[in-house]
């Protein structure tokens, strides 16, 4: 082997090592808060400072205590309920509207869609106070309706996403169906919808995660523990048991866990959702 080849190989090896080191450091930065939280959740309160990642006697009882201190299962079911309702509604109604905007010609379609796009620009802070007042007018404060109805019939963003996707589907699908005599509803339901899986997955995952993690809105709307979602419960727990870190960390991890599972399972949809949620107007 010539010395040149040797040098090239050595360089490549060094490069690989540098690369993997960099990647590991980055991975550590991304994970360490969560790892520290997990390790904190397994320690006894007075050992919380100990700089060990895996405590010698893991206190799984901390997790049990979470259930004693807050109605965790109740809140978990509530959150699943809210997220489930809103996700189903969003997917269904946004795909309907998205299809209409993409494929059904009607008067004022493009102007209306432009108005939709306009609302995407509006920051949340502008609409939150009037929405609060709306809920008060309908009498939905402190009820599950306030958590479900605003998102149930879809949003401008979801419609935008679905419309963009419908436009990418080949025209021949529709044309053939129309030739066969299908009504618009049938075209939508039987023909196109089965093929919107990627977009539907993305919208479903994004919506689910957003509802699961929502904090400001439950903070304003929900008073009773038995309809409270998990995020609100966690903040209340923190308010009462300020320095009881192991229990707080255990609660945090329990709330995190379902999302991590969803992330692991639907990773690709997740990533695509993030990427798409950005590219507005392209």
């Amino acid at each position: 082997m010539s010395s040149l080849t040797e040098r090239v190989i050595k360089f490549n090896v060094l490069r690989a090592i540098a690369l993997y080191t960099a990647l590991t450091v980055m991975a550590w930065c991304a994970l360490f808060p969560i790892l520290w939280a997990v390790s904190g959740s397994l320690k006894k309160e007075r050992d919380v400072t100990a700089p060990v990642l895996l405590p010698p006697h893991p206190q799984w009882s901390n997790y049990g205590e979470v259930f004693a201190l807050m109605p965790f299962w109740r809140m978990f079911l509530n959150t699943v309920f809210y997220a489930g309702c809103v996700t189903t509604g969003q997917v269904f109604f946004c795909s309907l509207a998205g299809y209409a905007f993409a494929r059904l010609p009607f008067k004022g379609r493009d102007v209306l869609f432009l108005a939709y796009l306009g609302t995407l620009m509006v920051p949340l802070t502008v609409t939150v106070i009037p929405q609060f007042i709306l809920m008060r007018t309908f009498g939905w404060t402190d009820t599950p309706w306030s958590m479900i109805v605003p998102g149930l019939f879809g949003s401008a963003f979801g419609t935008y996403l679905m419309r963009q996707f419908f436009r990418t589907l080949p025209n021949e699908l529709e044309e053939a169906a129309i030739l066969d005599g299908c009504s618009p509803w049938q075209v939508y339901w039987r023909v196109l919808l089965p093929h919107t899986k990627p977009a539907v997955m993305v919208l479903a995952v994004l919506t689910w995660v957003n509802v699961w993690n929502d904090f400001l809105w439950p903070l304003l709307m929900i008073q009773r523990d038995n309809i409270s979602p998990l995020t609100l419960g966690l903040v209340h727990l923190q308010g009462q048991y300020v320095s009881r870190w192991p229990v707080l960390m255990a609660a945090s991890m329990l709330i995190l866990l379902p999302l991590v599972i969803i992330y692991a399972v639907a990773q690709r949809a997740f990533i695509r959702g993030i990427a798409l949620s950005g590219f507005g107007g392209r």
Binding site: R74, L77, N78, V80, F81, G84, C85, T87, T88, F132, M135, R136, G139, T141, D142, T143, P144, P170, E172, L173, A176, A177, D180, V191, L193, P194, H195, T196, K197, V200, L220, M221, Q223, R224, D225, N226, I227, V235, H236, G239, Q240, Y241, V242, S243
Partner: protein
Amino acid sequence: MADNQSPIFTRLERHHSRPFGRRTLLRGAGVLGASLVASTLAGCDDHDDALTFFFQADPEEADARMRVIDEFQRRHPGIKVRTVRSGGDPMQQLLTFCAGGKCPDVLMVWELTYAGLADRGVLLDLNPILAGDPTYASELKSDSVPALYDTFEYKGGQYAFPEQWSGNYLYFNKKLFDDANLRPPGRWEDAWSFAEFLDFAKRLTKRDASDKVTQWGFVDTWVPYYSAGLFGMNNGANWSSPWNNPRRMNFDDDAFIEGVQFYADLANKYQVAPKAADQQSMSTMDLFARGQSAMAMGGHWRYSTFSEAGGLDFDVTVLPVGPKGHGSWSDVGTTGLAIAADSPRKQQAWEFVKFLTGPVGQAVIAETGLFVPALKSAINSAGFAKAHSRVHNLNVLTGGPARSRHLPVTPAWERVDALMDRNFGPVLRGVQSATSFKTDLAADVDKVLRNQ
């Protein structure tokens, strides 16, 4: 070409290998539907007709509260009570809940913040109810401590009845004091001075070999800028004159500034009290509860926590008096029970309030040791003394309500509080002197009060 199959489907199968089967869709909907049904069934007791009661309490205090509430429900089996526990900022929560149209029926309100609710029409004026029950009204009047009762009178209406005296005093660790051969005063009349207090605190602050503090002389379990203000008050400067609906505060008063500076110096100059950073991991409550502090400033709401702390032998003493002060005083800290103006259950709410703030309920409260009661009969009762048998200087508690000075009552308190937080901060941290109040805080606060 297959005749039954429509041409689309064959082409579809060629384009997409894994179409979104309808079965998957239905399966997904089924799962969601099941969870929906389960949750709804479980949550069907949504709109029950219980009386809602909003209050804030530490976990141990909450237990005592529930015992009193259970006692009420025992005597009034027809009234069901549902509690709503407050998070960190009860006033903001109350305002948001009531603004949203779902005000709790019975509200725990604080002396400093209730005027904001009264001013917005959230609270029911209780005078008409009293007028309809003259025997009870006179009973209440004669048994009440005027300072506490009058606190909840605003612009001619009575918006709450006091349920407790939550003024501040000092808890102290008997063992640590005995070890150092020190004894603090036992009665409000025998007050000690700032200098004496500081001397004791210095002697009770211990450090280890590496100069890290192992035992603090003094910790504060209240809100730091309020406590600083209390030291100002005990230096002869009331926070505002008049106390009810004032147009200006006395924050630029020299005596007030001197008192605040003394409090700030405890942590920064004399180092007998922990700084904010030292308090982050172990709260001041824990410090005292674990015997790592000789004194702790707080009110009776800390009593349950401390009495349940294992191995802590504590007693109570009075606040120190500054050079310009006239006798030792506490703040007329009090919480009261109010009824929501638009409550659909006013009669039941009144029964609840009447129980908890009237002689019957107050006697129960005295026995459980939940609060220092607001009615004289309960304060001086044997039950109260028995519930506090470990406290030797009982006069600090029983004489407290009478030795209280009013804090300001104004609907703009939220804004004043925010200004206090901002301006006291640097002073308490030691980066600014309290004389800065003359220029910044006083002007801003007065502007807020004038602009109501």
